[in-house]
C-alpha cells in the first residue's frame, strides 16, 4: 500500500504519523503498566514513556499517569550524549540513570533509555522513567520524602550507566543493584519491563521509518511541533497582556520546623507569548524538598492552553520559564531532593490563581494542592516472612468552579490517571484492615459553588511495623477560595496506638508502632468559589440531606436555616439570617 516514491508529506500520512507517535508511547505505557511489579507503576502511573530526539526535543509522550513528568526527559538525553559522545552508542545499548545533578528528582525515579538506530544513525531515544519501590538508603515506598539530608543517605546513585551493552546485560551492575536494594525481585522485574517497553518503542519507531522514510517522518514531526505551538499561541493570544502575580506558602521543609517556604508566581502575557517567572519562590533548602524541574510552570501552562492535546516539544515553545540556579526548583547538586515533588501542585495552583482575573471563562478555586493522602505502612508478613508494604494515594477536594461545585476525593493536578488502592487489594496482600474510607463532612470550602470534599481513611495494622505519616505541609495555607469563597479544611495525619487514649496529629517517617495501632489519612477539601451567602439554599439542603454539610455549617457558612424534623429550607429564617451578615 505504501507509495515508494512518496517524499512529499500528504495530509493523510501526516494524520497517520500524528496519531502513530503518541500511540507508540501509549503502547509502551500499557505494556509497562501491565507487566510492572509495584503499585507506583501499575496503580499510581508514576512513570512516563517517551520518544526523545537526540537534541532533547520531546517527540511524543504517553497520556495519563503523573502530569509533572511532562516533557522532562530532554535534559537526560542531552547529558547522555555529552557523557558518552555522539558516537558512544551501539545498537542494543540500554542506559540507566537517576543522578540528581541532571535528573533533579528523587532517586526512586529510574530512567531507562535506548537509542533507536535507523540506517546506522540515532533517530531518537526510546525512554521510560519509572518509580522503583526501593533504591536503597531511606527510599522505601513513595521515596524518602523529607527525611534525608543528602543524596547518599537517600539511596543508590546511577549516572548514565550502560546496563545493557550492545545487547549483553551488564551482570556486575545487576549484582550491585540486587545487593543494594530492598525489593530486588520487584525492582529488577520493573527494570525488565522498562527495557521491554523501550525495545517495543524502538521497534515501532523503526517500522514507522521503514514505512514512510526518514525525510517524511522528520517533516511530519516538524509540522506537528509547529501546529502544537500555534494551538497554544491561539489560546494565550486571548488573554489580555499584562503581568499577573500570586503567592502561597508551604508550612516548612520538615527540617527547619515552623519556617514557611514562600511560593510566588509572576506570569507575563505579551501577545501570544507567556513567561512564568518562579524567582520569587524560596531558595534551595537544607530540608529535602528541592528539585531541578520546570514541571510546575509547564503543567499549569498545559492546563491553561491545550489540555486535551498530546504533549510534544511544540507544546512549550511559546512558553518561557524563569527559575534561577539555586532556587528550590533549580537546586544545585548535592542538595537533598527526596521530597522533590512536594511544592509542585502548590506552584501550579499559584500560577492558575495569578491568571484568575485575566481568563474569560474563569478558573477553579484551589484544590487539595498536595500529592496525597499517602498510606504507607511496612513490616514483615507473619505468614510469608517476607517484607510487605501498604501503599495508596487518596484524593481530596478540588476547588469550586465558576459554574459548578468542585469534585470530591480526586487526586491532584500533578496526578492524572492515578488510582487509589482498592481496600480488597490492600488486605489481600498485607496484614492490615482498612476500617473506613469515607468523605469528610464539612471539609469543603464554602462558596456559591462549594469545593469538593476530602476523605478520611482509617487503617488498623494487625502486626507491628512502621508508619510513614509525614505531613503534607499545607496546613498553614489551606486550599484557598476565589471570589469570596472560603478555604477548604486542611489535610492531616493522625495516629492512635493501643492504650494511647485516642488519635493524635503526627509528623513522622518510618515510625515504629505495635500491632493494633490505627492511623487516619485525612485529605483536604477544595476551596469555595463565590460568596457562600449566594448559594442556592436548595443545594445547601441537598448537601445536608446527603450528610456532606452539617446543619450547623449550613447556618454558619451559608446562612441557610433548615427545619430539622422535616428537612426543608426555612426560607424566612434563611432570609433573616443572610440579611444579618
Amino acid at each position: 500500500m505504501q507509495s515508494d516514491t512518496a517524499t512529499a508529506l500528504d495530509p493523510i500520512t501526516l494524520e497517520v504519523i500524528r496519531n502513530a507517535l503518541p500511540a507508540i508511547s501509549d503502547e509502551m505505557s500499557a505494556d509497562l503498566r501491565r507487566a510492572s511489579y509495584n503499585m507506583m507503576i501499575y496503580e499510581v502511573g508514576d512513570f512516563c514513556c517517551a520518544l526523545v530526539a537526540p537534541d532533547g526535543d520531546l517527540i511524543s509522550q504517553n497520556v495519563g499517569g503523573v502530569s509533572h513528568f511532562v516533557a522532562d526527559l530532554g535534559v537526560v538525553v542531552v547529558d547522555a550524549i555529552a557523557q558518552w559522545g555522539a558516537d558512544g552508542f551501539a545498537e542494543g545499548d540500554v542506559l540507566i540513570t537517576n543522578h540528581q545533578r541532571v535528573a533533579g528528582q528523587h532517586l526512586n525515579n529510574i530512567v531507562v533509555a535506548m537509542p533507536v538506530f535507523v540506517d546506522g544513525r540515532i533517530v531518537c531515544f526510546s525512554m521510560v522513567r519509572a518509580h522503583w519501590i526501593d533504591v536503597g538508603g531511606l527510599s522505601t515506598g513513595f521515596g524518602a520524602t523529607g527525611s534525608v539530608s543528602d543524596p547518599w543517605m537517600e539511596g543508590l546513585q546511577l549516572d548514565q550507566l550502560k546496563i545493557v551493552e550492545a545487547g549483553r546485560p551488564n551482570e556486575t551492575l545487576l549484582k550491585v543493584l540486587r545487593a543494594n536494594i530492598r525489593f530486588p525481585d520487584a525492582s529488577l522485574g520493573d527494570l525488565r519491563s522498562q527495557i521491554a517497553a523501550c525495545q517495543l518503542g524502538a521497534r515501532r519507531v523503526a517500522e514507522l521509518y521503514a514505512r514512510y522514510g526518514a525525510a517524511v517522518v522528520h517533516d511530519a514531526i516538524a509540522q506537528i511541533f509547529a501546529e502544537a505551538e500555534q494551538r497554544c499561541r491561539n489560546v494565550v493570544e486571548q488573554i489580555p497582556d499584562g503581568v499577573y502575580e500570586a503567592s502561597a506558602f508551604l508550612d516548612d521543609d520538615g527540617r527547619a520546623k515552623g519556617e514557611p517556604i514562600p511560593i510566588h508566581a509572576q506570569v507575563t502575557v505579551a501577545g501570544s507569548d507567556m513567561t512564568i517567572d518562579l524567582s520569587g519562590c524560596s531558595p534551595q533548602r537544607l530540608g529535602a524538598v528541592n528539585s531541578r524541574t520546570k514541571a510546575g510552570a509547564m503543567v499549569a501552562y498545559k492546563c491553561l492552553t491545550t489540555p486535551a492535546e498530546p504533549v510534544n516539544a511544540g507544546s512549550f515553545r511559546a512558553l518561557e520559564v524563569v527559575i534561577p540556579e539555586g532556587n528550590i526548583m533549580m537546586a544545585s547538586f548535592p542538595a537533598p531532593m527526596s521530597g522533590w515533588s512536594l511544592p509542585i501542585p502548590t506552584v501550579v495552583d499559584t500560577i492558575v490563581a495569578a491568571l484568575a482575573p485575566a481568563l474569560p471563562a474563569g478558573v477553579p478555586a484551589a484544590h487539595l494542592g498536595v500529592l496525597g493522602g499517602t498510606i504507607i505502612f511496612t513490616g514483615l508478613h507473619p505468614r510469608t516472612g517476607q517484607r510487605f508494604i501498604v501503599q495508596s494515594i487518596e484524593g481530596g477536594g478540588w476547588g469550586g468552579r465558576p459554574h459548578e461545585d468542585g469534585p470530591s476525593a480526586s487526586v491532584s493536578v500533578c496526578q492524572g490517571d492515578v488510582r487509589n488502592a482498592p481496600i480488597e487489594t490492600i488486605e489481600l496482600r498485607c496484614p492490615v484492615v482498612v476500617e473506613e474510607r469515607r468523605l469528610r463532612p464539612d471539609s469543603a470550602g464554602a462558596g456559591r459553588h462549594r469545593g469538593g470534599l476530602g476523605v478520611d481513611v482509617v487503617v488498623r495494622n494487625l502486626v507491628p511495623g512502621k508508619w510513614n505519616l509525614w505531613q503534607t505541609r499545607r496546613r498553614g495555607c489551606p486550599p484557598w477560595g476565589l471570589g469570596g469563597g472560603k478555604p477548604g479544611e486542611p489535610a492531616d495525619y493522625l495516629l492512635e496506638t493501643p492504650g494511647s487514649g485516642g488519635f493524635e496529629s503526627v509528623d513522622v517517617t518510618l515510625h515504629d508502632v505495635p500491632a493494633d495501632s490505627r492511623a487516619i489519612i485525612r485529605t483536604a477539601g477544595g476551596g469555595g468559589w463565590g460568596d457562600p451567602l449566594q448559594r442556592d439554599p436548595e443545594l445547601v439542603l441537598r448537601d445536608v440531606r446527603e450528610g456532606l454539610v452539617s446543619l450547623e455549617a449550613a447556618a454558619r457558612e451559608y446562612g441557610v436555616v433548615i427545619d430539622h424534623s422535616r428537612l426543608t429550607v426555612d426560607h424566612d429564617g434563611t432570609a433573616m439570617l443572610r440579611a444579618s451578615r
Binding site: 496519531n19 482498592p422 480488597e424
Partner: protein
C-alpha cells in the same frame, strides 16, 4: 434448553428500527423484515416484524434477540430508584471510586455521576477478611432496619456489596435473604452473584448498574417470552450478550448487565465472519443505524473482547466488568437532527428524531430535518423505494423542512444545506473510524471497511475516501446485519472467581473444587450435551498487579499439573511482553471458566441464484456539491448476478438500504453476492 432446529429467527432492536432475519436451513433461505421500533412497547415491534417477514413463530425452533434496552436505560439515566447496602465504613467507596482523573490536564474534569445517591446508601455492621474469615458477624437486625428505610424511600431495586464477598459470600447471601423477605417486590443484586472478583469499587459499580437496570430489563425479557409464547412460539429464546455469545432469558433477567452491548455486537461477529470468508482478515466494521454510528476493529479475523469497560466512556463513565466486544460510537445516525447553534454554525446530532416521530420524510409528525431527510433531498434515498416501497417517504416535506430550518437561517439554497448536513455527518463518522484505526497506530489503508446498518452503505464510500481506505464491502442484508451476526453466535457464559494464592502453595483441590462448582453452574445454563468448558487462570508474578489469562485443563488441577501451568505462564508472559522470569514466584488471582455451546449456523454462501438481468432504472441524484443532478443508474441489488461490474456514479437499492457509489468508483459483485467497491482515491 434449545433444540436443534431448521428454522431460526434473530431480532435486533435498535433506537430506530427493529430488524428481523430468519434462516430456513432446509430451504437454505433467508427471510427478512424491518419495522419501526416502538419505544412504548418494544415487544410489539418484534411481533410486527415477525408478521411482516412472512415467517411463522410456531415454526421457529429458536429466537435470538439483541436489544439496546440495557445501555439506553443507563445512558438516559432512566433506571430504577436504587438503594445500596455496604459494609460499615465503606458508604462512600462508590462515590469516591478510584479517585483518578483520566484527563490529566483538565482543570474542569468531572467524576461519574452515581446512580445511587449518598442518602440511599446504607452501612451495616459486618466484616469478612480477605481470607474469607469472619471478623465481625452480620448484624441482621441492622439489615432489617435498613429495609425499613429503603421501603420508606420507595426504592425499586437494591444492590448489596460487602467487602471480600468474592472470598466468602455468606454475609451477602444472608443479607440478600433478609432483603428479599422484607422487600419482596424489590429487584435485588448481590455482588458475588454478578461478579465474584476482588476490587470493591468495580464490583459495586457493576452490581449497582445491574440493579439500576434490572427491573426494566427483566420485565422486558419476561414480557417478550410471554408474548412470543402467546404468538405460538414453542422453541428457545436466546438473549445476545456483550461478549458476542447468547444466554437464556432467565439468566438475562438476573444479569441484565451482560446485555449492555447486546445490540451492536452481532454486527461485529458477522463482519469478522464475512471478512474471513472473503479473505479479508483485517476489517473495520462500520455500522450506521438510526441514532448512532459505530466502528470496531477486527484483526486477523478476531474481534477485540475486553474483560469490561466504562459505560459512558473511561473519563466519566461507570465501570462494568462483564466481557464486551470493543466498539467506538458517535451520535450520528440517519435520524440525527441538523440544527443551528447559538453562533450560527450548522451542527448534526447527537439528538435524534428516533423512530417516533422520526425524520420529517416519515410523515409521522417530525418537524426537524435529519440526515435521512438530507439524503432524500439529494435523491440518494428514493421516496417511493424506501424499504422496498413498504413505507412511502414525504420528499417534499423533507426539502421544505431543510429549507425552513437550515437553508434560510444560513442564507443557503436547499441543496447546499442538504450537502452540508451529509458532509458534517461524514466527517464525524470518519472520526469514529479513525479512533479505532489511525488513533491506535493502524493504517486504514491496510483494512477494508465493511458497511452495515440501514444508513451505513449510504455513507461508507465517502468515509472510505476521506480515510484513503481502498475497499468497501457491503454484505448481504446490511440493514439486518446485527441480526445476521446473532444467527452466527454460540451460547456463552463467563464465570470468574478470585482465588488469590501462590501457585506453588495452593492446594490444587481448592481450585478444582471451584472449577467443579462453576462447571456445574454452567451445566444449568447450557445444555450439558453441547457444553464445552474452557478454563483460564489469571496469573502474574508476585508483585505484579495485572494478570494474564493462562489456559488450563481440568486434569491439570493436581499438584504436578500446576507445575505445567506455571511454565505455561512463563511462555504466555514471554509472548505478550517479550520477557519472563522463570525463577520468580508466580501467583494465581482468578479462575475464569467459560461455557460454550455450539449452535447450528447458516452457510451464507448457499444462496439461491438471483433472477436474470438487472432491472435497471434511472433517477436524478446529486453526487457533488455545486454540480447538477446526474441521471444515474439505479440497480436493484436482488437482481445483481455474481461477477457483475458496475461503474459509478450509481445507486444500488435493496430492501433496507441503499449503496451510493460515486464517479470513478467500481463495484464488483462477489460470488457470494457481497458488493466489493474499489474506492477511487
Amino acid at each position: 434448553m434449545g433444540r436443534e432446529t431448521d428454522f431460526s429467527i434473530a431480532v435486533d432492536i435498535g433506537g430506530t428500527f427493529t430488524d428481523l432475519i430468519a434462516y430456513d436451513a432446509g430451504g437454505a433461505r433467508f427471510l427478512h423484515a424491518k419495522s419501526l421500533t416502538t419505544p412504548h412497547d418494544l415487544v410489539e415491534g418484534i411481533l410486527d416484524c415477525v408478521r411482516r417477514s412472512g415467517g411463522q413463530l410456531a415454526d421457529a425452533g429458536e429466537v435470538v434477540h439483541g436489544s439496546t434496552i440495557a445501555i439506553n436505560t443507563v445512558l438516559e439515566s432512566r433506571g430504577s430508584r436504587t438503594g445500596l447496602v455496604v459494609t460499615r465504613g465503606t458508604r462512600d467507596v462508590y462515590a469516591i471510586g478510584r479517585g483518578n482523573r483520566p484527563d490529566a490536564y483538565n482543570l474542569f474534569f468531572r467524576r461519574p455521576r452515581p446512580f445511587v445517591p449518598r442518602e440511599l446508601t446504607f452501612e451495616v455492621p459486618e466484616r469478612t477478611l480477605a481470607s474469607g474469615e469472619i471478623l465481625e458477624e452480620l448484624d441482621e437486625q441492622a439489615v432489617i432496619d435498613v429495609c425499613t428505610e429503603l421501603r420508606e424511600a420507595n426504592v425499586d431495586a437494591v444492590a448489596v456489596c460487602f467487602l471480600h464477598s468474592y472470598a466468602n459470600p455468606e454475609h451477602e447471601r444472608r443479607a440478600g435473604e433478609l432483603i428479599r423477605r422484607e422487600l419482596p417486590d424489590a429487584y435485588v443484586s448481590l455482588s458475588h452473584e454478578i461478579l465474584r472478583e476482588y476490587r470493591e469499587y468495580e464490583r459495586t459499580s457493576t452490581t449497582v448498574v445491574n440493579s439500576y437496570i434490572g427491573p426494566i430489563v427483566s420485565r422486558y425479557v419476561d414480557a417478550l417470552g410471554g408474548r412470543l409464547a402467546a404468538g405460538g412460539f414453542g422453541g428457545q429464546l436466546w438473549i445476545m450478550q456483550s461478549s458476542g455469545g447468547v444466554m437464556a432469558p432467565s439468566t438475562a433477567a438476573r444479569r441484565p448487565v451482560a446485555m449492555m452491548e447486546s445490540g451492536p455486537v452481532g454486527g461485529i461477529i458477522a463482519a469478522a465472519e464475512i471478512g474471513r470468508r472473503l479473505g479479508f482478515p483485517n476489517v473495520i466494521a462500520f455500522d450506521m443505524g438510526g441514532t448512532t454510528a459505530k466502528a470496531s476493529l477486527i484483526r486477523d479475523g478476531t474481534p477485540t473482547v475486553a474483560d469490561g469497560y466504562h459505560v459512558g466512556g473511561y473519563t466519566e463513565g461507570h465501570p462494568v466488568l462483564s466481557p464486551v466486544v470493543d466498539v467506538v460510537e458517535v451520535g450520528t445516525g440517519g435520524g440525527s437532527i441538523a440544527w443551528i447553534d447559538e453562533v450560527g454554525a450548522l451542527k448534526v446530532g447527537p439528538r435524534s428524531a428516533g423512530a417516533d416521530p422520526g425524520p420529517i420524510c416519515y410523515a409521522r409528525g417530525g418537524t426537524e430535518p435529519t440526515i435521512t431527510d438530507a439524503n432524500v433531498a439529494l435523491g440518494r434515498i428514493r421516496a417511493h423505494a424506501f424499504m422496498g416501497g413498504e413505507m412511502a417517504l414525504d420528499a417534499d416535506g423533507a426539502r421544505a423542512g431543510i429549507a425552513a430550518r437550515v437553508a434560510q437561517p444560513l442564507g443557503l439554497d436547499e441543496l447546499a444545506a442538504a450537502f452540508g448536513i451529509v458532509e458534517i455527518a461524514t466527517a464525524k463518522m470518519s472520526l469514529a473510524v479513525r479512533e479505532v484505526s489511525v488513533a491506535k497506530g493502524y493504517d486504514p489503508r491496510d483494512f477494508v471497511l465493511l458497511a452495515s446498518g440501514g444508513a451505513g452503505p449510504l455513507h461508507a464510500v465517502a468515509i472510505a475516501r476521506e480515510l484513503h481506505i481502498p475497499r468497501v464491502i457491503v454484505p448481504r442484508f446490511p440493514g439486518h446485519f446485527s441480526a445476521v451476526g446473532m444467527l452466527l453466535t454460540d451460547l456463552r457464559h463467563d464465570l470468574v472467581r478470585t482465588i488469590y494464592s501462590r501457585i506453588d502453595e495452593v492446594e490444587p483441590e481448592r481450585i478444582h473444587d471451584a472449577y467443579r462448582e462453576m462447571a456445574a453452574e454452567l451445566a444449568t445454563l447450557i445444555d450439558p450435551e453441547r457444553l464445552r468448558v474452557e478454563a483460564f487462570l489469571d496469573m502474574r508474578y508476585a508483585g505484579q498487579d495485572f494478570t494474564l489469562p493462562v489456559p488450563v485443563a481440568e486434569h491439570e488441577l493436581v499438584a504436578g499439573g500446576l507445575e505445567v501451568v506455571r511454565r505455561r505462564f512463563d511462555e504466555v508472559h514471554q509472548r505478550r511482553y517479550g520477557h519472563h522470569a522463570a525463577g520468580e514466584r508466580a501467583e494465581i488471582v482468578n479462575l475464569r471458566v467459560t461455557g460454550l455451546g455450539r449452535r447450528a449456523k447458516p452457510e451464507l454462501q448457499d444462496t439461491p441464484t438471483p433472477a436474470n438481468g438487472a432491472a435497471l432504472q434511472r433517477a436524478p441524484v446529486y453526487f457533488a456539491r455545486g454540480a447538477a443532478a446526474v441521471d444515474a443508474p439505479v440497480h436493484a441489488r436482488d437482481r445483481l448476478q455474481a461477477g457483475a461490474l458496475i461503474e459509478g456514479p450509481a445507486l444500488i437499492e435493496e430492501y433496507a438500504s441503499t449503496t451510493v457509489v460515486f464517479d470513478g468508483d467500481t463495484v464488483t459483485v462477489a460470488p457470494t453476492l457481497e458488493l466489493l467497491i474499489d474506492v477511487h482515491d
